[in-house]
């Protein structure tokens, strides 16, 4: 299935295959591979939904995949037996450009004419028979994917695709075909000839290297001579566009008639948001709603998950006993799973909004509206959605950078994304601010709120500076062309939204979930082992003494206190505590003691565990209420008796937190999306150095 972006291709694909589809990846890249199964009259047909593309010349990684599959040069994927060309009835002009290129392949082809309802509303009438004749006699099936009209006819046409004749069509640009045939010594099949035509137009690149090698020893020279003859001084892509669009205009004049456009609500909405000021204000409103939803709506669910995980852990300890295995199940496995699914409410809501915005056609408009602002920092409008997503979690943010066609822009955005204040940073900010920033008013504003806002702003500024500096240095390069289609607004299709939502959540769980879980278990082990028999014995003695001295509620309180102190001492001599003490000299200039150092080390693979570690290390239990922990932090002293948590130290700690890339899941996703270890290693080092320096400066200078 091939078609322009926003041609209704995915909706049609979901309508044809339903839930009988698999989502995988093309080898070596992060482009998703959607394969569905279609059953017609007992025949099983495998349908592949290719990424949307405007032409057979690639502009982004996704388009390149689509083209490689169509031309049969994708390793491990056979050339298609037939093509379902998805043609948007409201956009024949661009659609026919691609269809024409596909027809020249002489592969059996069916045209699915989508959005015929929208075309009727827009006053467009299309002569189907004449269109079919113009396209070399291929079947043209009008469908409405959202309601299912025409789907059965399309199914039957697809089933008959291998029995149908390949289309016969005059080339739009005969000279190009002749040049390709000459390069092939006149012996080629149509598909191979088209591949050579692409070689002539796009020039040699990684995808067509094998083809060029197959053309013989002097192929490069012959290719260059053919290109000179064919294009002269004209850029090949421009020459191709001129030739093919001339053909498209002739077809359009023949098959399409425009009536009066019925002004619907879409037109009015479009006209309204087209105006610069309402459009921009509208965008801010939409962003505010997404934020509100991600944070406010998700909180009750997250609290519920947190509490359930804690209760379940308690039950497990009760059932299995307070030993290594019980602790592994409760504090390792259950807490680990809990720390994964606690993200789900936010992720679900975030994905839901992004998919809704994408399917309604608003995302492109957001990119258009923000382009100027993003350009001033060296990015483009398409970077805005990844940045916004990263306020919930950098993982979906970085995955969302796939829409950015230019690689340099994309990597600059990936490097900026982890600076955005993600939801895992928030609890640490909240704790430290509540403990050390006075709860007083500054004018109309609250000082604590102001500091929190400042931290958000700080993250944005750091991200923007990073992107800007990278774009001027390591990622320096020519300004990528900006060309953005702005689709009409349309009501998202519930079915398509749900299928996409499920798919994306599954990907998140697989990519981030597994990493977060493993990290949780590893940190548990480092904080649990080795166990000190001495501490355990002393605990038992203290317990026995308490049992003699207290009774009832007093006894329970005393026992809890003894347990917490024992846990703190066990942690102190655990691998984690020892590591904290070992690196204390490194963090000493920042004003940290071994306790803070241990918590920060534990937080490096997953920053959200810091609070639990602080809770244990300050002997208030890992599920302690904040006020007790706050009290302990305030009273914490260095060996020389000076307080640990001074204001400069706390500011430094906040800066450290705002900067550092303490998230293994983000590193794994950067590795996956950039396909090299270079960028995650760079991002981690760079952000840690900045965080350390910032904390050092704050502690020494303030």
């Amino acid at each position: 299935m091939v078609g322009n972006p926003n041609s209704g291709k995915s909706t049609l694909f979901n309508r044809l295959t339903g839930l009988r589809q698999r989502v995988g990846n093309y080898p070596g890249v992060t482009v998703e591979r959607h394969v569905g199964v279609l059953d017609v009259d007992g025949r099983r047909i495998e349908l592949v939904d290719l990424p949307g593309t405007h032409a057979l010349s690639a502009h982004s990684a996704e388009e390149l995949i689509a083209i490689d599959v169509i031309l049969g040069r994708m390793p491990g994927t056979a050339a298609p037996d037939g093509i379902v060309a998805v043609l948007d009835a409201t956009n024949l002009y661009q659609g026919l450009y691609l269809v024409q290129q596909l027809l020249e392949l002489s592969v059996p082809l069916v045209v699915a004419l989508t959005m015929t309802d929208a075309a009727a509303t827009a006053g467009i009438t299309i002569d189907i028979d004449r269109l079919s004749a113009r396209l070399g006699g291929v079947p043209v099936v009008p469908v409405v994917a959202t309601t299912g009209r025409g789907i059965d006819t399309l199914r039957i046409a697809i089933a008959a695709i291998d029995k149908s004749e390949p289309p016969l069509i005059e080339p739009a640009w005969p000279a190009l075909r002749d040049a390709a045939t000459r390069l092939l010594d006149g012996t080629a099949e149509p598909a191979q000839r088209v591949a050579v035509e692409r070689l002539l137009i796009d020039g040699p690149n990684a995808s067509n290297q094998a083809l060029l090698d197959g053309l013989g020893a002097d192929a490069t020279t012959r290719l260059r001579r053919a290109q000179d003859e064919l294009f002269g001084l004209d850029p090949p892509l421009a020459a191709e566009a001129r030739a093919r669009y001339a053909w498209v205009r002739a077809v359009l004049a023949d098959v399409q008639a425009h009536g009066a456009r019925l002004a619907g609500w879409r037109t009015r909405v479009t006209d309204f948001v087209n105006r610069p000021l309402p459009g921009t204000l509208g965008l801010f409103l939409v962003m505010a709603i997404v934020f509100q939803a991600v944070f406010a709506w998700a909180t009750p669910m997250m609290d519920l998950i947190d509490d359930s995980a804690a209760a379940l852990g308690g039950r497990a300890i009760g059932l299995l006993g307070d030993n290594a295995f019980g602790s592994l199940v409760a504090d390792g496995v259950i807490a680990g799973v809990g720390s994964v699914i606690v993200f789900l409410p936010q992720i679900l809501i975030l994905f839901l909004f992004i998919i809704l915005l994408e399917d309604s056609g608003y995302l492109a408009r957001a990119a258009y509206l923000m382009d100027r602002a993003m350009r001033s920092v060296g990015l483009s409008g398409q970077s805005i959605i990844p940045m916004i997503s990263s306020f919930a979690c950098a993982v979906p943010g970085i995955m969302a950078t796939r829409v950015i066609p230019n690689r340099r822009d994309r990597i600059a955005t990936i490097l900026a994304a982890p600076f955005m204040t993600c939801s895992a940073r928030l609890p640490v900010y909240a704790l430290l601010i509540a403990a050390f920033v006075p709860d007083e008013s500054v004018g109309l504003l609250n000082l604590q709120g102001l500091v929190l806002f400042g931290l958000y702003l700080f993250g944005i500024v750091m991200g923007v500076i990073t992107a800007f500096v990278m774009r001027q240095t390591a990622l320096r390069g020519p300004k990528p062309p900006f060309a953005l289609m702005l689709p009409e607004f349309r009501t998202p299709n519930l079915r398509t939204v749900m299928i996409q939502l499920l798919g994306r959540v599954r990907v998140f769980l697989r990519r981030a979930g597994t990493v977060i879980f493993v990290v949780a278990v590893v940190i548990w082990a480092l904080a649990y082992f080795p166990r000190s028999a001495l501490v355990a014995a002393e605990r038992d003695t203290a317990m026995a003494e308490a049992a003699m001295m207290f009774a009832g509620e007093e006894l329970a309180a005393a026992e809890a206190d003894i347990d917490n102190r024992a846990a703190a001492r066990q942690l102190e001599q655990s691998f984690l505590g020892r590591a904290g003490k070992a690196v204390e000299p490194v963090f000493r200039p920042l004003g940290w003691d071994w306790r803070v150092s241990s918590a920060v080390i534990a937080g490096f693979p997953a920053r959200e565990v810091v609070i639990a570690v602080l809770g244990t290390v300050y002997a208030v239990g890992d599920e302690a209420d904040e006020s007790t922990l706050t009290e302990r932090l305030r009273n914490s002293r260095h060996a020389d008796g000076s307080p640990v948590f001074t204001l400069p130290m706390v500011i430094g700690l906040l800066i450290f937190y705002a900067c550092c890339l303490q998230c293994a899941a983000t590193l794994a996703v950067i590795r996956r999306e950039t396909n090299t270890w270079r960028w995650p290693v760079f991002a981690w080092t760079y952000m840690t150095v900045i965080g350390y320096t910032g904390a050092l400066l704050a502690n020494q200078l303030l």
Binding site: Q94, N274, P276, L369, D371, M485
Partner: protein, 91 residues
């Protein structure tokens, strides 16, 4: 008043950048040497195509055009490379 209109015509009437909001024009020539422009040509902004300026983002950049009823956005620096013949003002 008349002079102002003539000035507008002479400075703005020749490229896509100079078309006013709601104004219609047919692309007369494209300076295709600029790589920024070739992608737009693949998307259909070629000689003979009729476009309407539908609006712009805040600050007047990027522009939004309607090309055969479909919205397409490009930056002003790219719009400069398209010469157009204005064909009256559409609404």
């Amino acid at each position: 008043m008349r002079i102002i209109i003539i000035l507008c015509m002479s400075t703005n009437g020749t490229t896509l950048e100079g078309l006013g909001h709601g104004q219609r024009g047919v692309i007369r020539a494209v300076d295709a040497q600029c790589p920024q422009v070739q992608r737009l040509m693949t998307l259909g902004l070629v000689e003979g195509a009729e476009v309407v300026v539908a609006g712009s983002a805040i600050g007047g950049d990027p522009l939004e055009l309607r090309l055969f009823g479909r919205g397409i956005s490009l930056r002003r620096e790219q719009a400069r490379h398209f010469s157009v013949t204005p064909v009256g003002s559409g609404d």
